[in-house]
């Protein structure tokens, strides 16, 4: 059992990868066998993820060196002090992201079993789904720059294939193409930056490069080549245009997973800024802090105002995803902007970062839930057009309740989880800039208005004749939505427990650059 626990970081990626490659074989044996494998793979992946996260939160950073005699032997005797092997380095920030991916992927996979039951090509669908999960888990676990690029590519390519899964619909292919194009351009930029860093420092390990960084012109070029594409991948304005096009056309379960994938890019952005470049004396914190703050404020406001006039429910929700990403960028950006000021950091900077990081996990859960409810409505009615929908509350009460939970959470209404993280952001950002805090509150009010419209359009009113045969969605879809809804309620009722056990350690991990480096290079 101890040996199994020791290899959890490897299992975290190995399980979804093996499941992905086994699914086409299982599919030859029939749909039931394939479904059983899919459930088993999702459950084991989540179990490995949650067990690893528990280990990290209880005992600190977990290292895993692939191919080494001992999993924590980062530097081989004959390597000249360079960690040459692929290393997974999961600190509390990475563990937080692992929890998000583990919970979301389990809920989404369960939901998909019923939601995609009427589609063909399920072998490819589930293989790609597990590849996407492996890519996301790899991105948030690895301690190696090139490895990060590889996992980014795996998640991007699998994501593009899944967006275009309903290939008979032209718009799905277009959405997939746009996602693939933007992801490829972004990944090329990331690869170029890694090349620049490798050429200078002869290392790919994040901790090693961080310890050697000289902050010359080439390093700053590499920083921009890394940070901007990752900001684009998380849907920050003005690089958000792909988000509504892609999120709208993908199957709803995949849209929910793409939200998690976007947040893995957000993790990458924070890791680059805080860990790789976060030298307190030589890095211009204020400039890059304000870069995040401006992107965040723009994303929050533009996202929500673009959402309000939308008539397609998923397009509307996609713009809200852009808007909510704004809160995360705003919270962490404020922390970064005041990082060099110890007084401000202690007074409100860390709280702002905690709000931003708490909002990441909250958003993954309630936005995933909202996309799944939109998918449930589409599953039964065949339309996403809000002008055509109405009166579904009579026939789909569970879906309606789950939608209400998600909508109240995203609008920041107590006692749901969105309120807790937004409160942390409002109060801390107010001390940084009252204008930004008020803007954040206005965005929340507009979010509530927008979701009142969706609720009215989909569920309220008398039953409509064209939806006379509509009934509640199958049990696996309800189970998937219930997992996410349970988290939304729980994190709203006991927010301090989440902050104490997961968020505060993640904030400390984010700002503890020396600790991250020492975990690899310490003692050598």
């Amino acid at each position: 059992m101890d040996s199994l626990a020791l290899h959890l970081p490897a299992l975290l990626v190995a399980i979804p990868l093996f499941t992905a490659f086994l699914i086409p074989l299982a599919g030859r044996a029939g749909g039931t066998v394939r479904s059983a494998l899919v459930i088993l793979g999702a459950a084991l992946t989540s179990l490995a993820g949650l067990a690893l996260a528990a280990r990290v939160f209880a005992g600190g950073t977990v290292l895993y060196v692939f191919g080494a005699a001992a999993p924590h032997a980062a530097i081989p005797m004959d390597s000249g002090g360079i960690p040459i092997r692929i290393i997974f380095q999961v600190d509390a920030l990475g563990a937080l992201m692992v929890v998000i991916a583990a919970l979301s992927s389990l809920a989404i996979t369960l939901y998909s079993l019923a939601a995609e039951s009427r589609q063909s090509g399920k072998d490819g669908f589930y293989s790609m789904l597990f590849l996407l999960v492996a890519g996301v888990l790899g991105m948030v676990s690895t301690g190696d720059l090139f490895n990060f690029f590889v996992f980014l590519e795996i998640s991007s390519l699998a994501g593009a294939a899944l967006v275009a899964y309903r290939i008979d619909q032209g718009e799905a292919v277009e959405g997939g193409l746009k996602y693939a194009l933007l992801s490829t351009v972004g990944a090329l930029s990331v690869l170029m930056a890694i090349g620049i860093l490798f050429a200078q420092y002869n290392a790919l390990n994040i901790a090693t490069v961080a310890s050697r960084l000289r902050f010359g012109a080439l390093d700053m070029i590499a920083l921009v080549l890394l940070a901007v594409p990752l900001a684009m991948k998380c849907g920050a304005v003005p690089m958000h245009f792909w988000t509504p096009d892609t999120y709208t056309t993908a199957p709803s379960s995949i849209t929910a997973l793409l939200v998690v994938s976007s947040q893995a890019s957000l993790y990458g952005l924070f890791r680059i800024l805080f860990t790789l470049y976060g030298d307190l004396l030589r890095f211009n914190w204020a400039v890059f802090g304000w870069f995040l703050v401006i992107l965040g404020a723009l994303s929050a406001f533009v996202g929500v105002t673009m959402a309000i006039p939308q008539k397609d429910v998923k397009r509307l929700m996609a713009y809200h995803a852009v808007s909510q990403t704004g809160y995360m960028l705003l919270g962490v950006g404020v922390g970064l902007a005041v990082f060099a000021d110890a007084g401000a950091l202690a007074a409100y900077g860390k709280t702002a970062m905690a709000g931003g990081l708490f909002h990441i996990i909250n958003h993954a859960m309630y936005k995933g839930l909202l996309f799944l409810t939109a998918g449930a409505v589409f599953y039964r009615t065949g339309t996403r057009n809000l002008n055509r929908l109405g009166g579904l509350g009579h026939a789909m009460p569970w879906t309606m309740v789950f939608f209400m939970i998600g909508a109240l959470a995203i609008a920041g209404i107590p006692p749901f989880n969105g309120f807790a993280s937004k409160l942390l952001i409002y109060e801390s950002v107010f001390r940084f800039s009252p204008f930004l805090a008020i803007l954040a509150m206005v965005v929340s009010i507009l979010t509530l208005a927008s979701f009142v419209k969706v609720f009215h359009s989909m569920f309220m009113g008398p039953p409509r004749a064209e939806f006379a045969g509509v009934r509640e969605v199958p049990a696996p879809m309800i189970a998937g939505m219930a997992i996410l809804a349970a988290f939304v309620i729980l994190a709203g009722l006991v927010p301090q427990a989440f902050v104490d056990r997961m968020i505060a350690p993640a904030v400390n991990a984010l700002v503890d650059r020396a600790g991250y480096i020492a975990a690899i290079l310490g003692g050598h």
Partner: protein
């Protein structure tokens, strides 16, 4: 005194438990007031909505479609939307151009400050 379940925000605190208790008390008061009302007030014409003297529409015609909601908001913000919406061209090369544009701007900032 530490109250369980309290979220410390740095500048204040938030307790969902107290909020729920307050919500339950308000609900109880509302129920109490309602229970003391006349039991015969929900019969006859009292159930009919008053729509400025107009006839109540048929059930199916009573639902207001999404496009009609917030018309006033979008109309008031027309100048804003007329500038913002055209940026969303749907053309992939435009999307790449925005990415490269932001990258160029950040390169200038990063290399000069």
């Amino acid at each position: 005194m530490d109250i369980p379940w309290t979220l410390q925000t740095g500048a204040g605190a938030w307790n969902p438990l107290l909020w729920l208790v307050g919500f339950a008390v308000a609900f109880g008061v509302a129920w109490l007031v309602r229970s003391r009302g006349r039991p015969d007030n929900r019969s006859g014409d009292a159930l009919k909505p008053f729509i400025s003297g107009n006839e109540e529409p048929e059930n199916a015609g009573g639902h207001i479609p999404a496009s009609n909601l917030y018309w006033g908001f979008t109309e008031a913000m027309k100048a804003y939307y007329s500038r913002l919406v055209p940026f969303h061209t749907g053309i992939p090369s435009d999307y790449v151009a925005w990415l490269l544009g932001v990258m160029a701007l950040m390169l200038v900032i990063a290399l000069t400050v």
